[in-house]
């Protein structure tokens, strides 16, 4: 007879440690109690984002404990010229016997920002997975139905050079502007939203790059390296490239985000994507490129723009710094609008390149300007007169 040695495993025990098993102080207090929700009920999004990044102005009693060489730690509020109510009050000074209490939560207006898209990990992966799955299926379907054979020859070149060039804009802004900004914002809600914006742009860049790879494999005449040449030396793209680089070189994180999502994107991004590629592709036999561009368009128009408006709208109605902020935002508009408008015009030669022509450049630019005007007006800012020059 064989004997089996008893395995050493932990023994389950009945502990009755589930909610409601007993009544005692706090037994029903099942809500994070250290912040106020934006709406009546705390949202799941708020629960997983609010207060993760601490603030010495309310609860962080010992202050930041590591600093840069200049002795400043954490997330200084003056990393942008914009201001939110309460931020000019001095940071609470803690000293022997001072206690740890700071200002009452939220202590200043930056903490009131909530991302209207309520992004956290589940939304990031669900949304982005849906996009990449759908795009892959679209491209596979196109390949199987030999859809690329229907493209006009000039369109093949257009996609290789110009649609391809846009991937560099996405990549540069995604990485060096939005990902960079995720270290700069004053609260966890800002920085998480900026990280998500970054993932949208980096994903769009990769979508276009991998699409380009597929086209290189599927279309004999497709030059998979033409986008690099267009981006580095085609005069039509040098303006875009210069402004994209200038955006990434902007020191103030809020200015960089504002200028990108509220000026550059409506006047240059949407002009190129919605008013050129989306309009020209069908007539040139291409039903597949618009699905990629459309995915990026949706991310921008329905998510990132929505979030950016929610980020900046409170600044112009701030109960303490509305005037200051309006002046700053207005100056940013003043400085970025002419650059972006000029860049938009440098793209004009692209409109004449496809065999089947899209609607006129001027019509597309008018639409982009109207879009820009609507966004600026929504934020109660003045549309600079340069728009109509």
């Amino acid at each position: 007879m064989t004997t089996t040695q008893e395995r050493s495993v932990p023994k389950p025990a009945f502990t009755d440690a589930e909610a409601g098993a007993r009544t005692f102080p706090d037994s029903e207090a099942r809500r994070f109690n250290y912040f106020s929700s934006a709406k009546r009920k705390q949202s799941h999004y708020e629960d997983v984002t609010v207060e993760v990044q601490p603030d010495p102005r309310h609860y962080l009693s010992q202050g930041w404990i590591y600093g840069f060489a200049d002795g400043r730690g954490g997330y200084p509020l003056d990393w942008t010229a914009l201001k939110a109510w309460g931020q000019d009050r001095p940071e609470p000074v803690r000293s022997p016997g001072s206690g740890g209490a700071g200002y009452e939560w939220p202590a200043h207006g930056w903490h009131e920002f909530r991302d209207p898209n309520e992004e956290w990990e589940q939304t990031i992966y669900r949304n982005s997975s849906n996009v990449v799955r759908q795009l892959n299926q679209n491209i596979d379907a196109a390949r199987q139905s030999k859809a690329f054979e229907q493209w006009n020859p000039n369109w093949v070149d257009f996609v290789a050079r110009h649609v391809g060039a846009w991937m560099h804009v996405d990549h540069g802004l995604g990485l060096y502007l939005f990902a960079n900004a995720n270290r700069r914002g004053p609260t966890n809600m800002h920085n998480t939203a900026l990280a998500v914006n970054s993932t949208h742009r980096i994903r769009s860049a990769q979508d276009l790059a991998l699409y380009n790879l597929t086209l290189s494999e599927e279309i004999d005449a497709f030059d998979g390296g033409a986008h690099v040449q267009a981006w580095s030396s085609d005069p039509a793209w040098q303006g875009v490239r210069e402004v994209a680089e200038q955006l990434t070189s902007t020191w103030d994180w809020a200015e960089a985000v504002f200028a990108t999502n509220l000026v550059f994107e409506p006047l240059v991004g949407e002009l190129f994507r919605s008013n050129l590629v989306q309009q020209a592709a069908p007539a040139n036999g291409d039903f597949i490129t618009p699905t990629l561009i459309g995915a990026e368009e949706y991310d921008y128009a329905e998510r990132d723009l929505r979030c950016t408006k929610a980020m900046f709208a409170p600044m112009v109605s701030d109960r303490e710094f509305a005037e200051h902020n309006t002046g700053i935002l207005q100056s940013w508009l003043q400085s970025w609008l002419p650059r972006c408008l000029e860049v938009a015009r440098t793209l004009q030669p692209l409109w004449s390149q496809p065999d089947a022509k899209p609607p006129r450049f001027e019509d597309g630019l008018d639409r982009a300007k109207s879009r820009f005007t609507a966004i600026v007006s929504e934020l109660s800012l003045r549309v600079p007169k340069e728009l109509n020059q």
């Binding site: 502990t15 009755d16 809500r31 207060e51 740890g100 209490a101 589940q122 020191w251």
Partner: protein, 549 residues
């Protein structure tokens, strides 16, 4: 999925980067390291097309398990002793995670290799995942575990409690100071490569043994991302090593990062695993055994030592001393005893140890009972209020310790305490390496070399200073660690939820004022200070007063 191979796809996305022709990206962060532009392959070879669905699938498994745990009444079987420590752990860990996301941009301009930036961007997204998935787990615990107190006040508690401050080093250290010191050496080379093994693998194993299979579900999912981050750090380290002028800084940073991680992570995770478990099978690994396997063998011997031939100066002495502290000097036991001494300043409950625990400790750490047994018996005796004061104010042969200015864990191995006047203030340090970190490493010059980008240790680093001479009832109220009846403390030195056995603010009113050790030290005369030092280093083990000479 597309049929394109990962290698081919990854090669293609390298075409995305370009050399700026008109404007350089903004440079917000500095480093004293020098990097030559060099081709270095992105070790992650990850493209977002496959990354997002992979993570979504991982998420589905995590959230499916969470549904299953609730439907299967997991909380009828979880050990309260274990869950209470999660109130501390899960208040700390979402910040280090999100700080790792924030740390990635520190590397963009300082490491001139666009290929690596792709991996860093993916790590940024991963870290957003980790932070929010962990917050979500805590939310689930708050909603389903018997005692939500401490979970419900989690991030306030984390921000104003000394234990949270100790944990914050494991976050703020990633995002400030010299960009390479912070985001590469401290974060990826030491914290992620060495210590996430105990954090995210060893600890979840202990959770499962205590009836909680959600912590392993979430943290193993997290750990499967960490392995990619380790590759990020390795690639940057090899680039740094290729320039000999960096070797001096690498040696400095590895010493600092190793020792700080040891002080902080071993204190916390060691306590959770050894004092938070009810699993006292003699053949289950102790924290010391896990440490030897995961950190000493897997990290030190298999990962670090092979890098020596590339010129990396490895702090062998500190690694051996860490082991010495864990195995011979009772580091984890001293920390757990301190946590329990100071239970009144906490926002979680600490279960007394029982005879079964004593037997296990004696088996795993021979000599444990002689050192710590009597104190834990006193803890048990004093756990329910009965006319006495909390243990910190009773005579149980324990001297309240001074705090280490650098790692902020108290100076518990008394004979190793270092006292020095630094920046015009008398400070105590738990050990010589922590003294060196403050006095030598975090300075604008190092061994005669200019290090203008090195960070600074700042803040009110001794928590007790804030409450110098306060009554503990007022301290607890100030921190907000009071339950919804306005009187019962969130923390308790036992697990009995009978309101009649729970400590209240009224009980604390009987305690004498609580002086700050550091303020007191600075008020002493030189002779008094020297006498204090001479006495302190003769104290212990287990916090015992110095023997009469």
């Amino acid at each position: 999925m597309s049929r394109q191979s990962v290698a081919k796809a990854h090669q293609k996305i390298q075409e995305l980067s370009w050399e700026p022709a008109y404007h350089e990206p903004v440079s917000h962060y500095g480093t004293d390291y020098t990097f030559r532009k060099a081709k270095k392959k992105d070790p992650l070879k990850q493209v977002l097309r496959s990354y997002f669905p992979m993570e979504e699938e991982k998420d589905n498994r995590v959230y499916g398990a969470q549904d299953g745990a609730i439907r299967g009444n997991m909380f009828r079987q979880v050990q309260q002793r274990w869950m209470e420590w999660q109130k501390l752990f899960l208040s700390i860990i979402p910040l280090p995670e999100i700080s790792a996301a924030r740390a990635m941009p520190l590397l963009f301009r300082t490491v001139p290799n666009p290929e690596l930036h792709n991996g860093q961007a993916i790590q940024m997204i991963d870290e957003v995942r980790h932070s929010t998935i962990q917050q979500n787990l805590k939310r689930l615990y708050m909603n389903n575990y018997i005692d939500p107190a401490g979970f419900n006040s989690s991030l306030r508690g984390f921000q104003n409690d000394y234990a949270g401050t100790i944990g914050r080093q494991f976050a703020e250290g990633f995002i400030t100071g010299d960009a390479i010191t912070a985001a590469s050496i401290y974060l990826t080379i030491v914290a992620e490569t060495a210590f996430t093994n105990t954090l995210f693998v060893a600890m979840p194993g202990e959770a499962a043994a205590n009836g909680d299979y959600l912590l392993p579900t979430v943290f193993h999912s997290v750990q499967s991302d960490e392995s990619r981050h380790i590759s990020n750090g390795y690639a940057t380290l090899l680039m740094a090593l290729s320039d000999e002028s960096n070797h001096q800084l690498l040696a400095r940073d590895l010493r600092y990062a190793w020792w700080n991680n040891h002080c902080v992570v071993d204190a916390a995770i060691g306590t959770f695993i050894e004092y938070g478990t009810k699993d006292r099978r003699k053949d289950r690994e102790s924290y010391a055994e896990m440490w030897r396997r995961w950190i000493y063998d897997d990290y030190y011997r298999s990962y670090l030592v092979p890098l020596e031939k590339y010129g990396l100066e490895i702090p062998h002495d500190l690694i051996e001393e860490s082991w010495n502290r864990i195995w011979n000097k009772g580091y984890v036991h001293e920390v757990a005893q301190f946590f329990a001494t100071g239970w009144i300043a906490n926002y979680w409950r600490i279960d007394p140890m029982t005879d079964e625990d004593f037997e296990w400790f004696e088996h795993k750490y021979p000599g444990w009972y002689d050192k710590y047994g009597a104190w834990w018996e006193n803890y048990n005796r004093l756990s329910v209020p009965n006319g006495h004061k909390p243990i910190a104010f009773e005579d149980v042969d324990y001297v309240y310790p001074h705090r280490c200015w650098t790692c902020m864990v108290p100076c518990l191995i008394r004979e190793d305490m270092v006292m020095d006047e630094v920046d015009g203030q008398w400070r105590t340090y738990c050990s010589e390496p922590c003294h060196w970190t403050d006095k030598v490493a975090f300075r604008p010059t190092y061994q005669g070399r200019q290090t203008p980008n090195m960070g600074k240790l700042i803040g009110s680093r001794e928590w007790e200073t804030l409450y110098h001479n306060w009554n503990f009832a007022d301290i607890v109220k100030d921190m907000g660690f009071v339950r919804d009846d306005g009187n019962t403390l969130t923390a308790q030195p036992h697990l009995d939820l009978d309101p009649k056995k729970m400590w209240t603010l009224e009980h604390l009113r009987r305690c004498p004022p609580f002086p700050s050790p550091n303020v007191t030290l600075n008020e002493m005369t030189e002779a008094e200070r020297e006498a204090f030092r001479a006495d302190y280093v003769r104290q212990g083990p287990a916090g015992r007063p110095a023997p009469a000479s």
